[in-house]
Subunit: 279 residues, 2 copies
Protein backbone atom coordinates (compact mmCIF):
# COMPACT_ATOMS: atom_id res chain seq x y z
CA UNK A 1 0.00 0.00 0.00
CA UNK A 2 1.10 3.52 -0.67
CA UNK A 3 1.64 5.82 2.25
CA UNK A 4 -1.20 8.32 2.41
CA UNK A 5 -0.60 9.18 6.06
CA UNK A 6 0.21 12.82 5.31
CA UNK A 7 -2.30 13.23 2.50
CA UNK A 8 -5.40 15.28 3.17
CA UNK A 9 -8.18 15.83 0.67
CA UNK A 10 -9.76 19.24 0.79
CA UNK A 11 -13.49 18.91 0.42
CA UNK A 12 -13.61 21.48 -2.40
CA UNK A 13 -11.51 19.22 -4.63
CA UNK A 14 -14.43 16.79 -4.74
CA UNK A 15 -17.30 19.08 -3.90
CA UNK A 16 -19.63 16.87 -5.96
CA UNK A 17 -19.47 14.39 -3.06
CA UNK A 18 -21.79 14.86 -0.09
CA UNK A 19 -20.16 14.65 3.31
CA UNK A 20 -21.27 11.02 3.88
CA UNK A 21 -20.05 10.14 0.37
CA UNK A 22 -16.73 11.84 1.09
CA UNK A 23 -16.33 9.97 4.38
CA UNK A 24 -17.14 6.70 2.66
CA UNK A 25 -14.78 7.33 -0.26
CA UNK A 26 -11.97 8.23 2.15
CA UNK A 27 -12.52 4.98 4.05
CA UNK A 28 -12.43 2.96 0.82
CA UNK A 29 -9.19 4.58 -0.32
CA UNK A 30 -7.41 4.67 3.02
CA UNK A 31 -7.48 8.46 3.20
CA UNK A 32 -7.51 9.54 6.84
CA UNK A 33 -7.57 13.32 6.62
CA UNK A 34 -9.91 15.92 5.17
CA UNK A 35 -9.98 19.71 4.93
CA UNK A 36 -13.52 21.04 5.23
CA UNK A 37 -15.40 24.09 3.97
CA UNK A 38 -17.87 26.02 6.03
CA UNK A 39 -20.73 26.21 3.53
CA UNK A 40 -21.26 22.46 2.95
CA UNK A 41 -20.52 21.77 6.61
CA UNK A 42 -23.16 24.23 7.79
CA UNK A 43 -25.61 22.82 5.28
CA UNK A 44 -25.10 19.33 6.72
CA UNK A 45 -24.92 20.70 10.25
CA UNK A 46 -21.72 21.44 12.15
CA UNK A 47 -22.35 19.00 15.00
CA UNK A 48 -23.64 16.37 12.55
CA UNK A 49 -20.50 16.78 10.44
CA UNK A 50 -18.30 16.45 13.52
CA UNK A 51 -20.09 13.24 14.46
CA UNK A 52 -19.89 11.82 10.93
CA UNK A 53 -16.19 12.62 10.62
CA UNK A 54 -15.41 11.24 14.07
CA UNK A 55 -17.30 8.02 13.46
CA UNK A 56 -15.54 7.60 10.11
CA UNK A 57 -12.21 7.86 11.92
CA UNK A 58 -11.20 10.88 9.87
CA UNK A 59 -9.24 13.81 11.17
CA UNK A 60 -9.92 17.36 10.00
CA UNK A 61 -6.76 19.18 8.90
CA UNK A 62 -8.27 22.64 8.31
CA UNK A 63 -11.51 24.51 8.11
CA UNK A 64 -11.76 26.90 5.16
CA UNK A 65 -12.40 29.67 5.62
CA UNK A 66 -12.69 32.75 7.69
CA UNK A 67 -11.46 36.16 6.69
CA UNK A 68 -12.86 38.96 4.53
CA UNK A 69 -11.71 41.45 7.13
CA UNK A 70 -11.08 44.55 5.00
CA UNK A 71 -14.44 46.35 5.08
CA UNK A 72 -14.40 50.01 6.08
CA UNK A 73 -18.13 50.15 6.80
CA UNK A 74 -18.53 49.61 10.58
CA UNK A 75 -21.64 47.42 10.32
CA UNK A 76 -20.05 45.26 7.65
CA UNK A 77 -16.88 45.00 9.67
CA UNK A 78 -18.83 43.99 12.77
CA UNK A 79 -20.69 41.30 10.80
CA UNK A 80 -17.37 39.98 9.47
CA UNK A 81 -15.89 39.74 12.96
CA UNK A 82 -18.99 37.93 14.23
CA UNK A 83 -18.82 35.53 11.33
CA UNK A 84 -15.16 34.81 12.04
CA UNK A 85 -15.92 34.12 15.69
CA UNK A 86 -18.48 31.57 14.52
CA UNK A 87 -15.93 30.07 12.15
CA UNK A 88 -13.51 29.64 15.05
CA UNK A 89 -16.20 27.90 17.06
CA UNK A 90 -17.08 25.68 14.11
CA UNK A 91 -13.43 24.71 13.73
CA UNK A 92 -13.29 23.73 17.38
CA UNK A 93 -16.49 21.69 17.06
CA UNK A 94 -15.07 19.89 14.02
CA UNK A 95 -11.92 19.08 15.93
CA UNK A 96 -9.45 20.95 13.76
CA UNK A 97 -6.86 23.33 15.17
CA UNK A 98 -6.53 25.39 12.00
CA UNK A 99 -8.85 27.99 10.48
CA UNK A 100 -7.67 29.26 7.09
CA UNK A 101 -8.23 32.98 6.51
CA UNK A 102 -8.74 34.56 3.10
CA UNK A 103 -8.37 38.11 4.23
CA UNK A 104 -10.42 40.09 1.72
CA UNK A 105 -9.93 42.53 -1.15
CA UNK A 106 -10.23 46.28 -1.53
CA UNK A 107 -13.54 47.81 -0.44
CA UNK A 108 -15.52 49.36 -3.32
CA UNK A 109 -13.80 52.49 -4.62
CA UNK A 110 -10.68 52.08 -2.51
CA UNK A 111 -7.19 51.90 -4.01
CA UNK A 112 -5.35 51.64 -0.71
CA UNK A 113 -3.84 48.17 -0.26
CA UNK A 114 -1.78 49.18 2.75
CA UNK A 115 -4.76 50.50 4.71
CA UNK A 116 -6.68 47.32 3.92
CA UNK A 117 -3.79 45.24 5.26
CA UNK A 118 -3.81 47.29 8.47
CA UNK A 119 -7.52 46.63 8.95
CA UNK A 120 -6.71 42.92 8.73
CA UNK A 121 -4.14 43.33 11.52
CA UNK A 122 -6.74 45.13 13.65
CA UNK A 123 -9.24 42.32 13.04
CA UNK A 124 -6.68 39.65 13.91
CA UNK A 125 -6.11 41.41 17.22
CA UNK A 126 -9.79 40.97 18.00
CA UNK A 127 -10.02 37.40 16.77
CA UNK A 128 -6.76 35.80 17.89
CA UNK A 129 -7.59 35.57 21.63
CA UNK A 130 -11.00 34.09 20.80
CA UNK A 131 -9.24 31.53 18.58
CA UNK A 132 -6.80 30.64 21.34
CA UNK A 133 -9.67 30.17 23.77
CA UNK A 134 -11.03 27.53 21.39
CA UNK A 135 -7.69 25.86 20.66
CA UNK A 136 -7.74 27.15 17.09
CA UNK A 137 -4.87 28.76 15.17
CA UNK A 138 -5.57 31.34 12.46
CA UNK A 139 -3.71 30.62 9.22
CA UNK A 140 -3.43 33.78 7.10
CA UNK A 141 -3.33 32.69 3.46
CA UNK A 142 -1.51 34.84 0.96
CA UNK A 143 -3.43 34.56 -2.29
CA UNK A 144 -1.86 34.90 -5.72
CA UNK A 145 -1.43 38.57 -6.67
CA UNK A 146 -4.12 38.20 -9.34
CA UNK A 147 -6.63 38.25 -6.45
CA UNK A 148 -5.23 41.37 -4.77
CA UNK A 149 -8.09 43.68 -5.76
CA UNK A 150 -11.16 41.58 -5.19
CA UNK A 151 -10.32 38.73 -2.83
CA UNK A 152 -7.16 39.09 -0.79
CA UNK A 153 -4.84 42.06 -0.36
CA UNK A 154 -2.27 39.74 1.23
CA UNK A 155 -0.34 38.57 -1.84
CA UNK A 156 2.94 37.15 -0.54
CA UNK A 157 4.17 35.00 2.31
CA UNK A 158 6.27 37.95 3.44
CA UNK A 159 3.14 40.08 3.86
CA UNK A 160 1.29 37.25 5.60
CA UNK A 161 4.17 36.81 8.03
CA UNK A 162 4.40 40.56 8.65
CA UNK A 163 0.80 40.28 9.84
CA UNK A 164 1.17 36.99 11.71
CA UNK A 165 4.28 38.04 13.60
CA UNK A 166 2.35 40.67 15.49
CA UNK A 167 0.79 37.75 17.38
CA UNK A 168 2.04 34.60 19.11
CA UNK A 169 2.61 31.67 16.74
CA UNK A 170 0.00 29.54 18.48
CA UNK A 171 -2.56 32.22 17.64
CA UNK A 172 -1.65 33.32 14.10
CA UNK A 173 0.42 31.66 11.39
CA UNK A 174 0.22 31.24 7.64
CA UNK A 175 -1.09 28.93 4.97
CA UNK A 176 1.47 27.91 2.36
CA UNK A 177 -0.37 27.00 -0.85
CA UNK A 178 1.74 26.18 -3.89
CA UNK A 179 -0.84 27.69 -6.27
CA UNK A 180 -0.43 31.09 -4.67
CA UNK A 181 3.32 31.23 -4.04
CA UNK A 182 4.99 29.12 -6.74
CA UNK A 183 6.02 32.13 -8.88
CA UNK A 184 7.71 33.93 -5.95
CA UNK A 185 11.49 33.54 -5.71
CA UNK A 186 11.29 34.97 -2.17
CA UNK A 187 8.86 32.28 -0.99
CA UNK A 188 11.46 29.64 -0.03
CA UNK A 189 13.17 32.12 2.30
CA UNK A 190 9.78 33.15 3.71
CA UNK A 191 8.88 29.50 4.28
CA UNK A 192 12.11 29.18 6.28
CA UNK A 193 11.12 32.28 8.25
CA UNK A 194 7.68 30.84 8.90
CA UNK A 195 8.97 27.43 9.84
CA UNK A 196 11.58 28.75 12.26
CA UNK A 197 8.79 30.50 14.16
CA UNK A 198 6.38 27.55 14.05
CA UNK A 199 4.00 29.49 11.85
CA UNK A 200 3.38 27.07 8.96
CA UNK A 201 -0.11 26.11 10.08
CA UNK A 202 -1.05 24.29 6.89
CA UNK A 203 0.51 23.30 3.58
CA UNK A 204 -1.80 23.05 0.59
CA UNK A 205 -1.22 21.99 -2.99
CA UNK A 206 -2.72 22.86 -6.35
CA UNK A 207 -0.99 22.98 -9.71
CA UNK A 208 -0.79 25.96 -12.07
CA UNK A 209 -2.35 25.38 -15.48
CA UNK A 210 -3.07 27.78 -18.31
CA UNK A 211 -5.02 29.33 -19.90
CA UNK A 212 -6.71 30.72 -16.82
CA UNK A 213 -10.51 30.69 -16.96
CA UNK A 214 -12.66 33.83 -16.81
CA UNK A 215 -12.66 35.11 -13.23
CA UNK A 216 -9.53 33.01 -12.52
CA UNK A 217 -11.16 31.12 -9.64
CA UNK A 218 -11.76 27.61 -10.88
CA UNK A 219 -8.73 26.81 -12.99
CA UNK A 220 -6.48 25.10 -10.47
CA UNK A 221 -4.74 22.12 -11.95
CA UNK A 222 -4.63 18.52 -10.75
CA UNK A 223 -1.26 17.76 -9.15
CA UNK A 224 1.25 17.02 -11.90
CA UNK A 225 -0.71 18.68 -14.70
CA UNK A 226 0.95 22.07 -14.45
CA UNK A 227 4.04 24.18 -13.97
CA UNK A 228 4.69 23.67 -10.26
CA UNK A 229 7.50 21.48 -8.97
CA UNK A 230 5.59 19.91 -6.06
CA UNK A 231 8.55 17.93 -4.71
CA UNK A 232 10.60 21.11 -4.51
CA UNK A 233 7.91 22.90 -2.45
CA UNK A 234 7.49 19.89 -0.18
CA UNK A 235 11.26 20.10 0.27
CA UNK A 236 11.05 23.77 1.22
CA UNK A 237 8.43 23.26 3.94
CA UNK A 238 10.17 20.16 5.28
CA UNK A 239 13.51 21.95 5.40
CA UNK A 240 11.66 24.56 7.46
CA UNK A 241 10.59 21.86 9.91
CA UNK A 242 7.05 21.22 8.72
CA UNK A 243 6.02 17.58 9.06
CA UNK A 244 2.25 17.99 9.13
CA UNK A 245 -0.51 17.10 6.69
CA UNK A 246 -0.36 18.04 3.02
CA UNK A 247 -3.75 19.06 1.77
CA UNK A 248 -4.75 19.03 -1.89
CA UNK A 249 -7.24 21.79 -2.64
CA UNK A 250 -8.34 22.09 -6.26
CA UNK A 251 -11.03 24.34 -7.68
CA UNK A 252 -11.58 23.01 -11.15
CA UNK A 253 -14.75 22.82 -13.18
CA UNK A 254 -13.54 19.81 -15.14
CA UNK A 255 -12.74 17.85 -12.00
CA UNK A 256 -16.10 18.79 -10.51
CA UNK A 257 -17.86 17.45 -13.60
CA UNK A 258 -16.33 14.00 -13.09
CA UNK A 259 -17.17 11.22 -10.66
CA UNK A 260 -16.02 12.41 -7.25
CA UNK A 261 -14.67 9.06 -6.07
CA UNK A 262 -12.62 8.74 -9.24
CA UNK A 263 -11.23 12.26 -8.74
CA UNK A 264 -10.33 11.44 -5.13
CA UNK A 265 -8.54 8.26 -6.20
CA UNK A 266 -6.69 10.13 -8.95
CA UNK A 267 -5.70 12.90 -6.54
CA UNK A 268 -4.26 10.37 -4.10
CA UNK A 269 -2.32 8.70 -6.94
CA UNK A 270 -0.99 12.03 -8.13
CA UNK A 271 0.04 12.88 -4.58
CA UNK A 272 2.09 9.71 -4.35
CA UNK A 273 3.60 10.20 -7.81
CA UNK A 274 4.42 13.92 -7.70
CA UNK A 275 4.79 14.73 -4.01
CA UNK A 276 6.00 11.63 -2.22
CA UNK A 277 8.15 9.77 -4.73
CA UNK A 278 11.71 10.79 -5.36
CA UNK A 279 12.19 12.01 -8.91
CA UNK B 1 -4.92 73.36 -23.30
CA UNK B 2 -3.99 70.53 -21.03
CA UNK B 3 -0.39 69.47 -20.82
CA UNK B 4 0.08 66.25 -22.73
CA UNK B 5 3.83 66.70 -23.11
CA UNK B 6 4.64 63.55 -21.13
CA UNK B 7 1.73 61.50 -22.39
CA UNK B 8 2.44 58.73 -24.86
CA UNK B 9 -0.19 56.52 -26.42
CA UNK B 10 0.82 52.94 -26.95
CA UNK B 11 -0.41 51.75 -30.31
CA UNK B 12 -2.04 48.65 -28.81
CA UNK B 13 -4.45 50.83 -26.83
CA UNK B 14 -6.04 51.89 -30.11
CA UNK B 15 -5.04 49.02 -32.35
CA UNK B 16 -8.18 49.55 -34.42
CA UNK B 17 -6.44 52.62 -35.89
CA UNK B 18 -4.05 52.16 -38.81
CA UNK B 19 -0.69 53.87 -38.46
CA UNK B 20 -1.74 56.84 -40.65
CA UNK B 21 -4.99 57.12 -38.69
CA UNK B 22 -3.05 57.03 -35.43
CA UNK B 23 -0.66 59.74 -36.62
CA UNK B 24 -3.57 61.88 -37.73
CA UNK B 25 -5.51 61.38 -34.48
CA UNK B 26 -2.43 62.29 -32.45
CA UNK B 27 -1.99 65.49 -34.45
CA UNK B 28 -5.63 66.43 -33.91
CA UNK B 29 -5.42 65.89 -30.15
CA UNK B 30 -1.98 67.37 -29.58
CA UNK B 31 -0.45 64.03 -28.65
CA UNK B 32 3.23 64.06 -29.54
CA UNK B 33 4.39 60.60 -28.47
CA UNK B 34 3.57 57.03 -29.39
CA UNK B 35 4.71 53.58 -28.34
CA UNK B 36 4.75 51.18 -31.27
CA UNK B 37 4.33 47.42 -31.73
CA UNK B 38 6.40 45.37 -34.09
CA UNK B 39 3.62 43.45 -35.84
CA UNK B 40 1.62 46.43 -37.19
CA UNK B 41 4.83 48.33 -37.87
CA UNK B 42 6.26 45.49 -39.95
CA UNK B 43 2.97 45.15 -41.77
CA UNK B 44 3.09 48.82 -42.72
CA UNK B 45 6.84 48.65 -43.30
CA UNK B 46 9.49 49.70 -40.80
CA UNK B 47 11.06 52.41 -42.98
CA UNK B 48 7.61 53.60 -44.08
CA UNK B 49 6.48 53.82 -40.46
CA UNK B 50 9.60 55.75 -39.52
CA UNK B 51 8.92 58.22 -42.33
CA UNK B 52 5.24 58.57 -41.42
CA UNK B 53 6.02 59.14 -37.76
CA UNK B 54 8.81 61.60 -38.52
CA UNK B 55 6.69 63.61 -40.94
CA UNK B 56 3.86 63.72 -38.40
CA UNK B 57 6.27 65.21 -35.89
CA UNK B 58 5.73 62.34 -33.46
CA UNK B 59 8.38 60.80 -31.29
CA UNK B 60 8.47 57.08 -30.54
CA UNK B 61 8.80 56.33 -26.83
CA UNK B 62 9.21 52.54 -27.05
CA UNK B 63 9.06 49.63 -29.42
CA UNK B 64 7.18 46.61 -28.04
CA UNK B 65 8.46 44.04 -27.98
CA UNK B 66 11.44 41.77 -28.04
CA UNK B 67 12.05 38.92 -25.66
CA UNK B 68 10.82 35.31 -25.48
CA UNK B 69 14.32 34.24 -24.58
CA UNK B 70 13.66 31.14 -22.46
CA UNK B 71 13.69 28.33 -25.04
CA UNK B 72 15.94 25.36 -24.32
CA UNK B 73 15.88 24.06 -27.89
CA UNK B 74 19.02 25.43 -29.60
CA UNK B 75 17.34 26.16 -32.93
CA UNK B 76 14.46 27.94 -31.23
CA UNK B 77 16.86 29.89 -29.09
CA UNK B 78 18.89 30.91 -32.12
CA UNK B 79 15.75 32.08 -33.92
CA UNK B 80 14.73 34.11 -30.86
CA UNK B 81 18.12 35.82 -30.68
CA UNK B 82 17.98 36.64 -34.40
CA UNK B 83 14.50 38.03 -33.99
CA UNK B 84 15.63 40.21 -31.10
CA UNK B 85 18.53 41.55 -33.14
CA UNK B 86 16.01 42.54 -35.81
CA UNK B 87 13.83 44.17 -33.13
CA UNK B 88 16.81 46.23 -31.99
CA UNK B 89 17.45 47.35 -35.57
CA UNK B 90 13.77 48.19 -36.04
CA UNK B 91 13.82 50.28 -32.85
CA UNK B 92 16.81 52.21 -34.18
CA UNK B 93 15.12 52.76 -37.54
CA UNK B 94 11.99 54.03 -35.80
CA UNK B 95 14.07 56.46 -33.76
CA UNK B 96 13.30 55.10 -30.31
CA UNK B 97 16.00 54.33 -27.76
CA UNK B 98 13.91 51.74 -25.88
CA UNK B 99 13.02 48.17 -26.77
CA UNK B 100 10.64 46.54 -24.28
CA UNK B 101 11.37 42.87 -23.56
CA UNK B 102 8.74 40.34 -22.50
CA UNK B 103 11.16 37.65 -21.55
CA UNK B 104 9.16 34.44 -22.07
CA UNK B 105 7.56 31.68 -20.01
CA UNK B 106 8.54 28.13 -19.15
CA UNK B 107 9.41 25.86 -22.07
CA UNK B 108 6.95 22.95 -22.52
CA UNK B 109 7.27 20.46 -19.68
CA UNK B 110 9.69 22.54 -17.63
CA UNK B 111 8.98 23.57 -14.04
CA UNK B 112 12.26 25.40 -13.48
CA UNK B 113 11.70 29.15 -13.22
CA UNK B 114 15.23 29.82 -12.03
CA UNK B 115 16.87 28.10 -14.99
CA UNK B 116 14.59 30.00 -17.37
CA UNK B 117 15.65 33.29 -15.75
CA UNK B 118 19.30 32.33 -16.22
CA UNK B 119 18.73 31.68 -19.92
CA UNK B 120 17.35 35.23 -20.13
CA UNK B 121 20.55 36.55 -18.58
CA UNK B 122 22.60 34.60 -21.13
CA UNK B 123 20.52 35.99 -23.96
CA UNK B 124 20.84 39.56 -22.65
CA UNK B 125 24.62 39.12 -22.69
CA UNK B 126 24.40 38.35 -26.39
CA UNK B 127 21.93 41.11 -27.21
CA UNK B 128 23.03 44.04 -25.06
CA UNK B 129 26.17 44.96 -27.07
CA UNK B 130 24.16 44.81 -30.30
CA UNK B 131 21.59 47.10 -28.72
CA UNK B 132 24.27 49.55 -27.61
CA UNK B 133 25.71 49.60 -31.13
CA UNK B 134 22.29 50.77 -32.33
CA UNK B 135 21.70 53.28 -29.54
CA UNK B 136 18.93 51.14 -28.09
CA UNK B 137 18.35 50.23 -24.44
CA UNK B 138 16.72 46.95 -23.50
CA UNK B 139 13.89 47.37 -20.98
CA UNK B 140 13.17 44.10 -19.17
CA UNK B 141 9.50 44.11 -18.22
CA UNK B 142 8.40 42.17 -15.18
CA UNK B 143 4.97 40.83 -15.97
CA UNK B 144 2.28 40.14 -13.38
CA UNK B 145 2.86 36.78 -11.65
CA UNK B 146 -0.25 35.40 -13.36
CA UNK B 147 1.87 35.22 -16.54
CA UNK B 148 4.83 33.43 -14.94
CA UNK B 149 4.18 30.06 -16.59
CA UNK B 150 3.30 30.96 -20.13
CA UNK B 151 4.57 34.44 -20.89
CA UNK B 152 7.20 35.85 -18.57
CA UNK B 153 9.17 34.17 -15.79
CA UNK B 154 10.28 37.61 -14.60
CA UNK B 155 7.47 38.52 -12.21
CA UNK B 156 8.80 41.34 -10.04
CA UNK B 157 10.85 44.49 -10.42
CA UNK B 158 13.39 42.95 -8.05
CA UNK B 159 13.91 40.03 -10.43
CA UNK B 160 14.07 42.34 -13.45
CA UNK B 161 16.71 44.46 -11.73
CA UNK B 162 18.68 41.38 -10.67
CA UNK B 163 18.92 40.63 -14.40
CA UNK B 164 19.49 44.20 -15.57
CA UNK B 165 22.23 44.95 -13.06
CA UNK B 166 24.52 42.40 -14.67
CA UNK B 167 24.84 44.95 -17.51
CA UNK B 168 25.50 48.67 -17.79
CA UNK B 169 22.40 50.83 -17.34
CA UNK B 170 22.66 52.25 -20.85
CA UNK B 171 22.36 48.70 -22.17
CA UNK B 172 19.74 47.09 -19.91
CA UNK B 173 17.09 48.57 -17.64
CA UNK B 174 13.50 47.85 -16.74
CA UNK B 175 9.94 48.67 -17.72
CA UNK B 176 7.74 49.81 -14.86
CA UNK B 177 4.11 49.04 -15.76
CA UNK B 178 1.49 49.72 -13.11
CA UNK B 179 -0.64 46.78 -14.25
CA UNK B 180 2.15 44.35 -13.46
CA UNK B 181 3.53 45.78 -10.21
CA UNK B 182 0.65 47.52 -8.42
CA UNK B 183 0.03 44.65 -5.97
CA UNK B 184 3.69 44.47 -4.87
CA UNK B 185 4.55 46.27 -1.65
CA UNK B 186 8.23 45.91 -2.54
CA UNK B 187 7.82 47.72 -5.87
CA UNK B 188 8.28 51.29 -4.55
CA UNK B 189 11.65 50.36 -3.05
CA UNK B 190 12.60 48.59 -6.27
CA UNK B 191 11.60 51.65 -8.29
CA UNK B 192 13.95 53.67 -6.10
CA UNK B 193 16.68 51.09 -6.75
CA UNK B 194 16.03 51.28 -10.49
CA UNK B 195 15.88 55.06 -10.55
CA UNK B 196 19.11 55.51 -8.61
CA UNK B 197 20.90 53.45 -11.25
CA UNK B 198 19.24 55.15 -14.21
CA UNK B 199 17.45 51.95 -15.13
CA UNK B 200 13.82 53.07 -15.45
CA UNK B 201 13.76 52.94 -19.23
CA UNK B 202 10.02 53.32 -19.58
CA UNK B 203 6.97 53.89 -17.40
CA UNK B 204 3.69 52.42 -18.60
CA UNK B 205 0.17 52.60 -17.24
CA UNK B 206 -2.88 50.36 -17.27
CA UNK B 207 -5.53 49.97 -14.60
CA UNK B 208 -6.53 46.74 -12.84
CA UNK B 209 -10.15 45.75 -13.34
CA UNK B 210 -12.00 42.58 -12.42
CA UNK B 211 -13.28 40.04 -13.24
CA UNK B 212 -10.32 39.03 -15.38
CA UNK B 213 -11.25 37.63 -18.79
CA UNK B 214 -10.39 34.08 -19.92
CA UNK B 215 -6.69 33.93 -20.71
CA UNK B 216 -6.17 37.14 -18.69
CA UNK B 217 -4.58 39.01 -21.59
CA UNK B 218 -7.11 41.56 -22.72
CA UNK B 219 -8.70 42.84 -19.53
CA UNK B 220 -6.56 45.88 -18.74
CA UNK B 221 -8.64 48.75 -17.54
CA UNK B 222 -8.86 52.32 -18.81
CA UNK B 223 -6.98 54.66 -16.48
CA UNK B 224 -9.23 55.49 -13.54
CA UNK B 225 -11.56 52.52 -13.97
CA UNK B 226 -9.74 50.19 -11.59
CA UNK B 227 -7.90 49.58 -8.35
CA UNK B 228 -4.58 51.30 -9.09
CA UNK B 229 -3.64 54.63 -7.55
CA UNK B 230 -1.98 56.12 -10.64
CA UNK B 231 -0.86 59.33 -8.94
CA UNK B 232 0.91 57.33 -6.26
CA UNK B 233 2.87 55.31 -8.84
CA UNK B 234 3.74 58.45 -10.80
CA UNK B 235 5.00 59.78 -7.47
CA UNK B 236 7.17 56.71 -6.93
CA UNK B 237 8.90 56.93 -10.32
CA UNK B 238 9.34 60.68 -10.04
CA UNK B 239 10.81 60.38 -6.55
CA UNK B 240 13.24 57.93 -8.15
CA UNK B 241 14.25 60.62 -10.65
CA UNK B 242 12.20 59.54 -13.66
CA UNK B 243 10.98 62.50 -15.70
CA UNK B 244 10.41 60.76 -19.03
CA UNK B 245 7.30 59.86 -21.03
CA UNK B 246 4.35 58.08 -19.46
CA UNK B 247 2.90 55.57 -21.86
CA UNK B 248 -0.64 54.24 -21.60
CA UNK B 249 -0.83 50.67 -22.87
CA UNK B 250 -4.24 49.00 -22.62
CA UNK B 251 -5.25 45.62 -23.99
CA UNK B 252 -9.00 45.65 -23.74
CA UNK B 253 -11.57 44.09 -26.04
CA UNK B 254 -14.20 46.68 -25.14
CA UNK B 255 -11.90 49.59 -25.96
CA UNK B 256 -10.90 47.90 -29.22
CA UNK B 257 -14.56 47.60 -30.22
CA UNK B 258 -15.04 51.38 -29.96
CA UNK B 259 -14.02 54.21 -32.26
CA UNK B 260 -10.25 54.49 -31.96
CA UNK B 261 -10.14 58.30 -32.04
CA UNK B 262 -12.70 58.46 -29.26
CA UNK B 263 -10.67 56.00 -27.18
CA UNK B 264 -7.51 58.04 -27.75
CA UNK B 265 -9.29 61.21 -26.66
CA UNK B 266 -10.71 59.49 -23.59
CA UNK B 267 -7.31 58.06 -22.68
CA UNK B 268 -5.72 61.51 -22.86
CA UNK B 269 -8.50 62.92 -20.65
CA UNK B 270 -8.10 60.12 -18.13
CA UNK B 271 -4.35 60.72 -18.10
CA UNK B 272 -4.89 64.37 -17.20
CA UNK B 273 -7.52 63.54 -14.60
CA UNK B 274 -5.89 60.56 -12.87
CA UNK B 275 -2.17 60.98 -13.48
CA UNK B 276 -1.43 64.68 -13.80
CA UNK B 277 -3.95 66.45 -11.56
CA UNK B 278 -3.40 66.67 -7.86
CA UNK B 279 -6.09 64.82 -5.94
Amino acid sequence: MTDLSRFSINQMTVKQLSLPELADACAQLGVGRVGLWREPVRQYGVAETAKLIREAGLSVTTLCRGGFLTATDPAERSRALDDNRRAIEEAATLGTDTLVLVCGGLPPGSKDLRAARERIADALAELAPHAEDHGVRLAVEPLHPMYAADRCVVSTLAQALDLAERFPAHQVGVTVDTYHVWWDDQAPAQIARAGAAGRIHTFQLADWITPLPEGVLNGRGQIGDGAIDMRAWRGHVEAAGYTGPIEVELFNEELWARDGREVLAQTAERFVEHVLKKS
